[in-house]
């Protein structure tokens, strides 16, 4: 029975007039690698900051390691690591000194591990932080977050400025991080291919709420695209439960469904005397379908 690491109940956050989070419920258990997906402005960064106590929620509760997010105690803070989107590090220190400075705060700081990562990711120990490029600084921010071997790693757009090589290296280190079965990761990103590699669970943020939360694989099982070719004109209302989007044009139809059920589909195709093809969707296409955006594919169908 794994513990609940993060839990938010009915979380609201309001900035002046805009409600960014509107009753968000999320539960992350130990060992899960949760990816946060959402359009810009859906509240990913706000959610992460509210969970970590960097922002104060307007209403609702949020707990980390069983503690109230606003008042996380020292022991719990030493078990978590955070890499922020605008990772501002103290610019005048050298790489080595900033790791030592951060290490001085933590009981379980592993300086050898940090040095090993610095070497592996090709950072120079004597260079000033202010003189590093954006990608290098991002790597440094991740190294600093990992240095005390946290149990929970929270990342906000961690790979946005990394080139593909660096990204792969970063993902590799995340995978190594998850080898410890109790380690949990929560990260928000736009890059769906990375999520597909690493994430076990997915949370879709939509209008300040969690639109979907579950295992990535089950999501891939559930959201599918169906092409129907019938012998006669199809009725305009096909009435398949869980349809996200449907385009019906005479004898052809293209549907995106959320709760795919092979049996229902079989019955339907028998009723309509139609042949159906089921398309598997990758995460990016699932994301687009769930956000209600039409893709290139249906343009082709319409021709």
């Amino acid at each position: 029975m794994s513990d609940t690491i993060i839990q938010t109940v009915n979380l609201h956050k309001q900035f002046k007039d805009t409600q960014v989070l509107t009753g968000l419920n999320l539960q992350v258990k130990a060992g899960q690698v949760v990816g946060l997906l959402g359009t810009n402005g859906s509240g990913k960064t706000t959610l992460i900051k509210c969970i970590l106590g960097l922002l104060k929620a307007t209403s609702g509760t949020s707990t980390v390691f069983g503690q109230n997010s606003w008042d996380i105690n020292a022991a719990a803070k030493s078990r978590l690591g955070y890499v922020s989107q605008d990772f501002v590090l103290i610019p005048w220190m050298t790489v080595k000194s900033i790791t030592e400075y951060t290490g001085a705060f933590y009981d379980q700081w592993d300086q050898d591990f940090v040095t090993h990562l610095i070497k592996e990711w090709k950072l120079s120990e004597t260079q000033r932080v202010g003189a590093l490029s954006v990608g290098q600084r991002q790597k440094l921010a991740v190294i600093i977050a990992l240095g005390h071997h946290p149990e929970l790693l929270v990342l906000d757009e961690p790979v946005a400025s990394l080139d593909p090589v660096a990204r792969r290296q970063f993902l590799q280190s995340l995978i190594e991080f998850t080898e410890e079965e109790e380690n949990t990761i929560l990260f928000s990103t736009h890059i769906t291919s990375d999520l597909e590699r690493v994430a076990s669970h997915l949370a879709f943020l939509d209008n300040g709420k969690v639109g979907y939360f579950g295992e990535l694989d089950s999501l891939k099982h559930q959201v599918k695209r169906i092409r129907i070719t019938a012998e006669q004109d199809l009725p305009l209302n096909l009435n398949i439960p869980g349809t996200l989007r449907s385009q019906i044009d005479g004898k052809h139809a293209l549907l995106a469904v959320k709760d795919f059920d092979a049996l229902t589909l079989q019955t339907l195709s028998n009723e309509l005397h139609a042949t159906t093809t089921v398309e598997d969707l990758n995460l990016e296409e699932i994301f687009l379908e769930l956000s209600g955006v039409s893709t290139q594919a249906d343009v082709e169908v319409m021709q």
């Binding site: 995978i175 190594e176 998850t178 769906t192 076990s200 990758n282």
Partner: protein, 131 residues
Amino acid sequence: MAIKATQFEVHPSAGVPIYLQIIGQINAMIAGGHLHAGDMLPSVRQMATELGVNAMTISKAYSKLESDEVVERVRGKGMMVRKSVLSGSTKERMQELKPLMEQAIVHGRQLGLNNEQILAVVNKLFREYKS
């Protein structure tokens, strides 16, 4: 003959879940004779590192294979390919194959192939998967 992790290929951005891709490839290897009974599968860690995917996905694939009785866990060593234990009579097993074949035939028809051409494809595959 041991199998290496590098012989697998996963496409994380394909629509098919990664664990299914791995299961499919392992099954194909067994069917194609690249994996024999008694061979060890690469460790979860090696697979994860080499393929660049979450270790949990690999272990999920392995667990499914284990529950399907394709592989079995050997303490201290890892996953070992099983001798294929056949359950049920031949007739039942043939009945299990029928829907898949039906799909293939229907698809062939859609492509406009006649029976001989479809059979040609099947024979070609048989040659590839000598067992």
